[in-house]
């Protein structure tokens, strides 16, 4: 029985319907991001580049998807999108959401 439960749980996680982000994989894929957003997404190298560290996962994923689809237009970011799969975007969003940063909620 115990073995069955373990197997059933493993099956659930092995075949998710939506790509779940993996922060460790995202870190491996984040070198190109670091050039503008800083190594951990919290030290942008230009004054008008956003901080990413600690931002909500689903917002970051949405931003990447919008850059890819063209719903959000930015020449630098659209240029980064061609090589990214849905899984890559989820991994990157998970990585940056997981980092500690200065972003917070304020009224």
């Amino acid at each position: 029985m115990k073995r069955f439960v373990v197997f059933a749980l493993a099956a659930c996680f092995a075949a998710p319907t939506m790509a779940a982000g993996d922060a460790a994989s995202g870190k491996q894929k984040s070198q190109a991001c670091a050039a503008c957003h800083g190594p951990d997404g919290n030290a942008p190298t230009g004054p008008d580049f956003p901080r990413l560290a600690g931002q909500h996962y689903d917002y970051l994923l949405r931003a990447l998807r919008d850059y890819k689809s063209g719903a959000r237009k930015n020449p630098i970011m659209s240029g980064q999108m061609s090589g990214l799969s849905t899984q890559d975007m989820a991994d990157l969003a998970a990585y940056f959401a997981n980092e500690k940063g200065t972003l917070h909620v304020m009224r």
Partner: protein, 93 residues
């Protein structure tokens, strides 16, 4: 690009009432056109906040609520709001 307006965080206090309904609530989510978390903007780079608002105003970013709000903001309003949120040091945590 036009010279950027100088932001005044103090002046923003009368202008952020439209922001706090969504951005002032922890873990608040948009309901339209798709459900996802509203981004945290306090502690964000001020110049990026201005750029984001300009992109909404120009239609280069697609969220309808933000487009509507940005169209009602002057360059000075955007600079003030950016100074207010961008200048906010992280409290607690």
């Amino acid at each position: 690009m036009p010279a950027q307006a100088q932001g005044n965080a103090e002046a923003a206090k009368g202008k952020v009432s439209m922001c706090i309904g969504c951005h002032g609530i922890p873990m608040y989510k948009t309901a339209f056109p798709e459900v996802y978390s509203v981004p945290m903007i306090a502690g964000q780079s001020p110049d990026y906040i201005v750029k984001a608002l300009q992109a909404y105003r120009a239609g280069d970013r697609s969220h309808p609520t933000m487009q509507g709000i940005a169209k009602g903001l002057s360059d000075q309003d955007m600079a003030d709001v950016a100074a207010y949120y961008g200048g906010a040091a992280k409290a607690g945590k």
